[in-house]
Subunit: 418 residues, 2 copies
């Protein structure tokens, strides 16, 4: 059987049992999560042994040390995985609730019920904990899921998939509803993303290369973001001390995250904040690359930015700073160079704040807050399956609700259409 055929059969089999999961009560779905946790606890040593095999093979094959680290499971990481399961179990049921119920002139009542999407595909790389994270969010939201992990984590993932199957079976749910693709053939990814009408949504979790490949090949909807070129704009009416603090936090809190700023835009009337801001960033070890107007201000240690800098997602202790003539120029810069992920303004001017909120076309827009808040947990979603910079279905950080759809429900007492 070809890889395409194999993946297609697994997807169809998961899709077939999806309605059973969608119909399961929240008690049953929560019990399944408990039972999966118990199964992992029971097989904790087997899991760490299986992971050892993956780690040894990866190290022997010369995989980068940082990737080997991501792949590694130890007792602490298994504990974190189990804690993650408990957190998802504790979240409110995202499905079945009816929103917006209203009575129309005809007498019918109309509202919208949250329902599972159906079958979700998750494509990820070396971290085996994604297997449990993704499976638990899909199960909690009543969705069947087809998992495709990194081939380097195959033994770990197979053991985790066995624990998931044990948990599902224990509570009387069909284990086919959480399926791990059991081939390491890379063609399986292409096969997955072309399951139009079978897989309802694919979520790639990994590096830009994976996401680009999935997006280019996908015939099914993909929930994704590619880049995080985020901006902080310092308006002329910004509180200068706040501007410096926000710049430092948004840049240095973590360098490798998509909601970290890469560029700071400073209104020409606010350049008085530059010495303090650049000094504070440099004190944290950040390299500052400035536009001509920053460089000519002659602040020690600033190097000249090139056109490429405005497009760059450094994911590193580097920041570019550009002086702009007002909010329109700032918004034009963000529109041209940004990635529509997260952008913030620092200002005390209400109309500038409102203009920025309304007109900057990004998945998160902020006033006087660190872009690092663009996160499912910080937004109170309770979990995060991904961040979307696309416009359809979900935009910004995506939690359990992003794994659901809605259907209209109508309650009548025999009303006829006239």
């Amino acid at each position: 059987m070809s890889v395409v055929e194999h993946v297609s059969r697994m997807a169809q089999s998961a899709k077939r049992v999806a309605p059973e999961l969608a119909a399961a009560s929240v008690q049953q779905r929560n019990s399944a999560l408990d039972a999966i946790g118990e199964a992992i606890e029971i097989r904790r040593r087997d899991l760490i042994d299986a992971n050892d095999r993956d780690v040894s093979a990866a190290a022997a094959s010369g995989l980068e040390a940082s990737l080997v680290d991501r792949l590694t499971l130890n007792d602490d990481r298994v504990n974190a995985m189990l804690e993650g399961l408990r957190v998802v179990r504790g979240l409110p049921d995202p499905i079945g609730g009816i929103e917006g119920m209203r009575t129309m002139d005809s007498g019918i009542q109309v509202g919208q019920m949250r329902v599972p999407l159906g079958l979700i595909g998750i494509i990820y790389e070396s971290r085996p904990n994604v297997t449990i994270d993704a499976a638990s969010l899909c199960l909690k939201s009543g969705n069947a899921v087809l998992l495709r992990g990194g081939s380097e984590a195959q033994h770990s993932n197979q053991l985790l998939a066995a624990c998931i199957a044990t948990g599902l079976e224990k509570v009387g749910l069909n284990p086919d509803s959480v399926a791990l693709i059991d081939t390491t053939d890379r063609a399986a990814v292409s096969a997955m993303v072309q399951q139009k009408g079978v897989i309802d949504m694919v979520i790639p979790r990994g590096g830009k290369g994976l996401i680009e490949r999935v997006s280019a090949e996908a015939l099914v909807p993909v929930l994704k973001h590619l880049d995080g070129v985020c901006h902080l704009y310092i308006d002329k009416e910004a509180d200068r001390a706040m501007a410096v603090e926000l710049a430092v936090n948004a840049k240095t809190h973590r360098y490798g995250t998509c909601n970290t700023i890469e560029s700071i835009l400073v209104d020409a009337h606010a350049v008085d904040c530059l010495p303090d801001m650049i000094g504070a960033l440099q004190a944290e070890g950040v390299e500052v690359r400035g536009c001509e107007r920053v460089v000519t201000a002659n602040i020690a240690g600033c190097v000249a930015a090139t056109e490429d800098d405005w497009y760059a997602e450094y994911l590193a202790p580097i920041v570019s700073i550009r002086v702009v003539d007002g909010i329109e120029a700032a918004m034009a810069h963000i529109s041209q160079y940004g990635s529509a992920h997260t952008d913030a303004i620092v200002t005390d001017c209400h109309s500038a704040a409102m203009t920025f909120l309304r007109r900057v076309d990004s998945s998160s827009v902020m006033v006087n807050a660190s872009t690092r808040f663009a996160d499912g947990f910080e937004y109170g979603l309770g979990a995060e399956i991904g961040i979307s910079t696309d416009r359809l279905h979900a935009r910004g950080p995506v939690g359990l609700v992003g794994l659901t759809s809605q259907k209209y429900v109508v309650l009548g007492q025999g009303q006829l259409r006239v």
Copy 2:
């Protein structure tokens, strides 16, 4: 220039000016709708003349009489078009509102703002009034739009497009934001639906052939439904008189609409309603095709249904009736033969109603109401751009909100992430 290149340039040009429209105030968008109406009023005679040319050419080419009728504009239809514009103008602004604002433990406030999607593509057939209907809904929701009407309506559509351009210019909006594709080459449709990243959503409005073609070729998201195989299930605890009335209304109110029922499922304990129901349907001129259990009940004039009947969308005075053993069998039938459009139960049993609502996986599910209510106006959406049976973005009747997306907005007072 090839058709693909031509369409691609038009799409890019509309996309480029989309942010201007998205930033326009609701007063400006409403004034544009007023000005378009005035331009149509001024050129009313030219419009009817242009339409006469389309109608003559269509009649000469042997187009079906029903299609020629759809193509025809007269004073009444122009009045209806103008009234449609006024209705859309009167709807509340669907964009800019912020929903779900809440304060997190960190002190930031998080909500979601409704924003336009960007650039919508509308592909339709012979009815020229769709030009105004689609353009007005897109303008009202701050979206640029690329229109592709039927080639048989080209003169009418060009004149309407000129009126739209006049209206946009009068209020200072860029006329490129509403663009009519000016080639009658069918390849233009294929070119449109492949504008990934430029056109944000395509809505085909027309027959099944058009929708199938668009769906098969599309690389951009498509808002659509294919079939309307809708069911009415008569539960054992149904009020029998209500069941008969609902069956007649849902079948005979209009035959050609997607929310008309094609099959009636009757619980084996409710077959006592069959003589009245079948009699009432036959009195309206409906042909009844029954399963074996209906036929053996020996009700005059029933013919035997074949397997094909359960899949059929008759769009005609024909209905199939099947006796089923309880709600599980009814739901299994709907799942197998239905089109996930609209399905209803007639029952006085609360738990049967809740089971049906929760488990029938259709874009509208109803209790004790006619399926004919599945409609944007009846649901209070104020307008309807289409009905979606897909699960992502929009499901069920789609009004102005379906032409919008959301972005997160965060308000802080200098909060840093810790």
